[in-house]
């Protein structure tokens, strides 16, 4: 039987929704027993949140002053130690999980499966390759621990309503001091989070300047949407790096995605193909974005956006 350990992602004393998505993935494996491990300085609040996720049996709380920041080199030996009692170790396919999980796998002497989009059994999974242009079915060996990351856009967060036990766990692992946290700069936007928002408005190179990009924020505010951007818009400095959507940015699955002045390069489309409804606004009727858009409008964004905002009231 599968015994699955999920590494919780959290910051500022709050659990990241990616954790409940990992639980959702684990729950699709029949008969799996699911535990969550919280690595923090004082993980009580996060562990209490994790304990409420349906389907979780036990939450392990690993408190250590060294866990103040998520440094992969510091967390990995602790995760590897806790993993001893499990058949599977999952983390989210966010920058946190992508940084940490391969290091855990290597310490355990096994490979890793990245970006699980579906489980077809405890050792059989589907995942995207080539920027999502191919989906592969992969079988993992049953006699080894399986370390994997879960593609969060493929799963709806497991609901609350659970009541798992919380246990403090003691982990003995020697932790390195060769890696030190310096600072983190996060633009406090007060806007919905790109990775979880039900609506997203994204702007591309066509916006032309950081100043012009404000009309994307303005439309997003009108719709209560998060803001995204193409790589071209981020590279040009119109939008912050954490807004990039796509193969190498964030993979998202909102109810509504509005692409404004974005051509629809494969690397961008990878990030949005699980969106429920895609709206494209582009002045070029031949732009590839229209091949995937549910609703397309050809025209100049600088006339369309103000009109649209007005029409939305």
């Amino acid at each position: 039987m599968a015994k699955i350990l999920i590494v919780a992602e959290h910051s500022g004393g709050k659990l990241n929704p990616s954790t409940a998505k990992c639980v959702a993935c684990a729950r699709t494996i029949e008969g799996a027993e699911i535990d969550i491990a919280v690595f923090a300085t004082d993980g009580a609040a996060v562990a209490a949140e994790a304990a409420k996720i349906q389907g979780v049996k036990t939450v392990l709380k690993v408190d250590n002053a060294a866990n103040a920041e998520p440094i992969a080199a510091v967390l990995a030996p602790q995760v590897a130690a806790v993993a001893a009692n499990y058949t599977h170790v999952f983390g989210p396919s966010t920058t946190f999980g992508k940084d940490l999980m391969p290091r855990v796998a290597a310490l355990l002497g096994v490979g890793q499966l990245s970006d699980i989009m579906a489980a077809e059994g405890a050792y059989k999974f589907r995942r995207p390759v080539y920027a999502g242009n191919a989906i592969i079915t992969v079988e993992a060996p049953q006699d080894k621990k399986l370390v994997a990351t879960v593609r969060t856009a493929s799963f709806q967060a497991a609901p609350e309503g659970g009541n798992a036990g919380v246990e403090a766990a003691n982990v003995s692992a020697s932790l390195p001091s060769h890696t030190r946290f310096v600072e983190r700069s996060a633009a406090a936007t007060g806007r919905p989070d790109l990775q979880t928002a039900p609506r997203v408005v994204s702007g591309g190179r066509a916006l032309g300047s950081a100043d012009n990009f404000k009309i994307i924020f303005s439309l997003a505010d009108k719709l209560g949407a998060a803001v995204g951007a193409s790589r071209a818009a981020v590279d040009a400095g119109y939008a912050a790096n954490d807004l990039q959507v796509g193969q190498t940015g964030k993979i998202i699955a909102p109810e509504l995605y509005v692409a404004v002045g974005i051509s629809g390069a494969i690397q961008h489309l990878t990030g949005i193909k699980d969106a429920r409804t895609i709206v494209a606004i582009n002045k070029d009727a031949e732009a590839p974005i229209f091949e995937v858009a549910d609703i397309g409008l050809v025209g100049d964004l600088f006339t369309i956006l103000p009109e649209l905002e007005k029409a939305l009231g």
Binding site: P102, A106, S114, E139, A140, R180, A240
Partner: protein, 249 residues
Amino acid sequence: MSKILVGLKRVVDYNVRVRVKPDGTGVVTDGVKMSINPFDEIALEEALRIKEKGGATEIVVVSIGPADTQQQLRTGLAMGADRAILVQADAPVEPLAAAKIFLKLIEKESPQIVLLGKQGIDDDNNQTGQMLAALWDRPQATFASKVELDGGKAKVTREVDAGLETIEVDLPAVLTTDLRLNEPRYVKLPDIMKAKKKPLDTIAIASLGVDIAPQFKVTRYEPPAARSRGVMVKDVGELVAALKNKGLV
């Protein structure tokens, strides 16, 4: 003498629209343009800039791949690397095996920095650098968008979901690159000529004594579920009506 090791993976060029073979056994690679993984070009560019600023004395580019990978290594030499090593492998290796091979080369070359891409755009694994750092028992600074060297340390700004994070690592260390670290230089014709004379050593993968047996078995390749083309609307009025119709506004 401080050395930088750079990984250059040979991958299907990023402009190619990759297609699954009709029999589901793989993707079409016959006659398809192959290039250096874009993140690895960024890694090499960063290494060159570090060397130009006096932070390194030698840049060695390394690839694990078939004999044809010499092309990508020659391009790396033309960009400015001093020497190339091809670990010849006729079948692709998984990231853990690649990390073990890099570790063998590290034991021989003793680099201060190993610069890899954050992910190969073929398998989109995003694993090798992290695994190598674990096996080497050294720091990792992944998804780097800025690298500042200061004696035996590196201050690295990383692109994370929340924004930008800065960490400090002791060297030697493994760094992996993100898109905005730099813009790689173009190769000039005279450099291509010069690169022909630079050393390119080929090592048989078997001679390294690394277990390269794959752990995972890919049983099927499928094209992704296609999204169908939707409707085109004429103006903003129709757009709003269509959104209302779907209950989205």
